[in-house]
Symmetry: C2
Subunit: 358 residues, 2 copies
DNA sequence: AATGTGCCAGACACCGGTGTCAGAAAGAGC
DNA sequence: GCTCTTTCTGACACCGGTGTCTGGCACATT
């Protein structure tokens, strides 16, 4: 069963422990062809157990690791996961990365982070070029750009798998991981109502954002269900930034009567509202309760610490990466459990919420 | 001057507009060999202008873009920049990425972000494996891991270029981009002294960190030069986290007499000190001035807004990337100016700093 | 005119894997 | 024992670039 006839069993074999071992070294050592080694690496089912063992032993012995560049060239596909994001808060991006990396830790995959500019006219062209050049396994889309259907279409057309992360179901189960913003805002709003608040204000996020819409819907629905009338004077729009929260807060708080509680669509704007209250000499939480959304680091650093909502973002990163990879490497998960699509956020009740004093 | 004899000028030429054009398509169109096209791509100096023009026209005409995977295989080098970081604050990482991406925007380079676990026993092995597999052009090391000499050695040995970012010169000019923590802390300290503060406390960063050392040195030097005695009761150690700042603040503020100002080595700890002051009913800034470091988003959201120090982190990302790339692509910069090694931070005087009241 | 020199461009192998297809080995049916 | 399958394995070309080396041509030298 020796190598017979003219085989391409390679010559290079000569004790090359030093440099990176190649598939040829393994083939020579195991006495098989490189194609057979390739089959072992790729878990081909058409292999006899004896051959597989022989090759696996050889692989372990010389510590062979397939060259990703060669694989990428031959397969026309890089073992890369791209994280596309546009300017959500930094901690969210980083935590999401953490989750993704936990999933791919022991695989051959690498994570590429790619910020994009939502406002740029040729954002789509940029992304297309990038995907065509890098040919990644798939992309992960973080909000807010995950909401853009054209990006998802682009991925599909480019033959790149994708998973969209968002405040609500943005796509079918296989292509998204969603939170339950509406429900959890509702929970926060109910908590305010239970403490006796009736005059409740709201700072909306920018229009056109699904997250903003979901959160506002959660607020409006809950108020309606509780039979509490809304006062549009207590509702203002922001753009998710601190400064817009400041402006919105000042505007809402000069209403008469003013609300006893304000829900903001994210923490930055909640911090802005808090500043507005300080400027106006309104004490938080005795005269005004404030609730944010995101559980950014800022939330716990504020005084009083901000009640807010925490997305299970690390977990979302883990799940999103698993969804992506599972499509290529069916046995990747090894019974790591089901792949949920909805991951519930949690309302964190800190000190910025109190009972109305009047 | 037609192709003569048996050339490898390819057959595939037939109107393949649709798929990605290859170097062979360009060669066929321009009537040259693929090697000549390769020379044009790589700006080889041994080309006649006529040939170059011909090929460049062909490249533009069919929109040819070299396949990065094939290049990586042939060159044994990926056109990748890796950002290695370990858990500094999220905004810093993100801003740094922004800078790097500004530099490489129009190049073939891609940015890979790789968080590492400083505390893991096999962190070095992990990084080595990663570098050997990905074969990046170079790595960028963000603090605090940029301070580790063994990581820099590893890069050198793996034949991967590196640039270390830090609070002070960590390496020779070509291999680092540094801030001037010592000087700018000194500036902040002097500002406190000028406002009349004499009882000044300090929250140190964790020992073993160069940044922590630099900042403390800046504080101690300035106090010494001003001839103000230090009270070790007003100096506490933290670990750069909010909770440690809280503990440090409580400890320092129960001293009698207590300081009228406290410098903290970063914003998170400064926020902790501020919370401690609130708990103890000490007003900021009238009874206590607080200065942080980092200009994290939190700093401006606190009440009162925190005086702090801003690293020119985006600029540092730009410069670091340029330093890395310049070593491979000498004409990359195209007269973009000198490559500084020291980038000065700026002291931002916000509302958390006042004059002592007693 | 014959030779020397320098500059350009092409043929060819190679980087390290994978797809295809043909063919060998092993078991089934007669 | 001899075909017919079925199962496994190997030769070879290929992915799309790059390094090396050789050779053609123009021009200068004798």
């Amino acid at each position: 069963m020796q190598a017979k006839g003219k085989s391409n069993l390679v010559s290079k074999s000569a004790a090359c422990k030093s440099a990176n071992p190649t598939i040829n070294d393994v083939a020579a050592l195991a006495g098989v062809s490189k194609k057979t080694v390739s089959r072992v690496i790729n878990r081909s089912p058409l292999l006899s157990d004896a051959t597989r063992d022989k090759v696996e032993t050889a692989i372990r012995k010389i510590g062979f690791v397939p060259n990703p560049q060669a694989r990428a060239l031959a397969l026309r596909r890089n073992f890369l996961i791209v994280l596309l994001h546009d300017n959500p808060n930094a901690q969210t991006v980083l935590n999401f990365q953490t989750g993704v990396l936990q999933t791919i830790r022991d695989s051959d995959l690498a994570l590429v982070v790619r910020p994009v500019d939502r406002d740029s006219a040729d954002m789509l062209a940029d992304v297309r070029t990038f995907l065509e050049k890098q040919r990644p396994l798939g992309v992960l889309l973080l909000p807010p750009i995950s909401e853009r259907g054209d990006l998802a279409d682009l991925c599909r057309n480019a033959g790149v798998e994708y998973v969209r992360i968002g405040s609500a179901m943005l796509d079918d189960e296989a292509h998204c991981v969603a939170s339950n913003d509406r429900e959890v805002v509702s929970e926060a709003c109910q908590a305010l109502i239970e403490r006796g608040h009736r005059r409740i204000g709201f700072v909306r996020g920018p229009s056109g954002f699904r997250s903003a819409q979901e959160r506002e819907d959660g607020f409006r629905d809950t108020m309606a269900q509780a039979g509490i009338a809304l006062n549009e004077e207590w509702i203002a729009q922001g753009n998710y930034r601190f400064s817009s929260g400041l402006v919105a807060g000042e505007q809402i708080l000069k209403a008469a009567p003013r609300p006893t509680a304000i829900l903001a669509s994210n923490d930055e704007m909640a911090a802005g509202v808090m500043h507005a209250a300080k400027h106006l000499g309104i004490d938080v939480p005795s005269k005004l309760s404030i609730v944010g959304f995101d559980d950014s680091p800022t939330a716990s650093h504020l005084w009083p610490p901000l009640s807010t909502v925490r997305w299970p973002i690390v977990e979302m990163g883990r799940v999103a990466a698993r969804k992506l990879v599972a499509r290529y490497l069916p046995d990747f998960d090894e019974g790591a459990g089901p792949l949920p699509t909805r991951l519930a956020s949690t309302f964190i009740d800190r000190a910025s919420m109190g009972s109305p004093s009047d």
